[in-house]
Subunit: 248 residues, 2 copies
């Protein structure tokens, strides 16, 4: 953990916070700080800052925070993901938040098994702590917004335009299509939505739906990757390409 | 599995192979092929090809293979990795092979705990099946060459030059340094060796050693990532950057 994430309701007007949960344990045992030390903090969906440790008593940590004026911008990347197996989804949550994603849009596909939607890894009380873990790792405060869509057609036809208004839409395929660099540079887009399919890929009907809704096919160089590896790899390359700005 | 990987010793001069292990089970149950069907095969460190299923009897699969003339080139990327926790190393093996790495150079560092070297995930009989799993996923035949070095100083001073002769040397840091794109494009390198540190980073002595041995510092945009996420993200970006060729 490289940052202690605080909820807005926990901090009073003077910047005082009292921690007594697992964050307090982390501060005292892992960070091993003493009164007078400073630690890095962040306000969920708000600014980063530093906190002065005022006291540590019986596992209760008292902090006084100073926050920066500016709030980090939301990440310039959205992820549309065919719901993977529960074990893979569990592994992905913290990595998605650490890499930086504004919206996580989980969807059905012909090769997604129905029972994947029944996992407790799709319940906010189980995935929110994993997303927060990723933010604390990456020193970010911007919590990804998560939505779950059981019908891909309805998602693409009726819902997606209101959720993701701007930026380039990319459909990742193991082969075919251009490189991420080529497509993003040609579009001069500042943001991207990247769609990642199930292990066996999208079917022809699904692919046509994506194309009809403005997605351009891209690939990562012809290697077929497991969906968790593919997500991390694609998010990294999209971030890296967008961060270089738009000169062609 | 998108490819069945065969060992050179298993294939006779006419291209015949008899499978009776887990690959036979995969061919009959997951791929669900019948005699007359074709499947994708590859010869370890040799060419890709296709195989005609000749017979399936009591779980024994008989194949006749035809291989392509050319052998896939080794991946243009080497990885030098401070040994992570055993659980993380286990997760990384198949992903490293799937993303494509020529050499995996595992090393000690001040923040690597001694007992990490005792794990069975560093024994060839446990990691080779995981590397093969990654190759079969990504349809590659080039097995990464693995070596383990308990002294970083000896590795950098005496061993590395004979192991990795060519290409750009990159040291990944959470912040500081240039982007991978900038460094690789300026160098016009065709290959890269990327060094990834332990969760807490390299210390100042280690960083100086890398710099003295030709490594240039790069970062992935300021987010601190877990070492497995960092490895996958860095390998993906290095591959993507190298694959775009050398025009500046």
């Amino acid at each position: 953990v490289n940052l202690i994430l605080l909820d807005p309701g926990e901090v009073d007007f003077s910047g005082n916070v009292i921690l007594s949960d697992s964050r307090a344990a982390h501060v005292t045992t892992v960070l091993a700080v003493a009164p007078g030390d400073k630690i890095r903090v962040g306000l969920l969906d708000g600014p980063l800052g530093t906190a002065l440790v005022q006291s540590i008593l019986d596992g209760v940590v008292s902090l006084r925070c100073r926050f920066e004026a500016a709030v980090p911008p939301p990440p310039p990347v959205d992820l549309l993901l065919a719901l993977p197996r529960p074990k893979v989804m569990r592994r992905l949550w913290p990595q998605i938040a650490a890499l930086g994603v504004r919206r996580v849009i989980l969807t059905n596909a012909s090769l997604v098994e129905r029972h994947y939607f029944d996992t407790h890894w799709l319940e906010p009380q189980t995935y929110l702590p994993l997303l927060r873990e990723g933010l604390q790792q990456a020193k970010d405060t911007r919590l990804p917004q998560v939505s779950i869509h059981k019908r891909l057609k309805v998602l693409l036809e009726d819902e997606l335009d209101t959720m993701v208004e701007d930026g380039m839409r990319l459909l990742a395929e193991p082969s075919g299509g251009a490189s991420i660099h080529t497509v993003l540079k040609a579009s001069r887009a500042q943001r991207a939505l990247i769609a990642v399919g199930p292990e066996g890929g999208w079917n022809a009907f699904e692919r046509d739906l994506f194309t009809a809704h403005g997605f351009e096919t891209i690939n990562l160089g012809g290697r077929t990757l497991r969906s968790d590896t593919a997500c991390v790899a694609l998010l990294a390359v999209v971030h890296e390409t967008l961060s270089r700005g738009t000169p062609l």
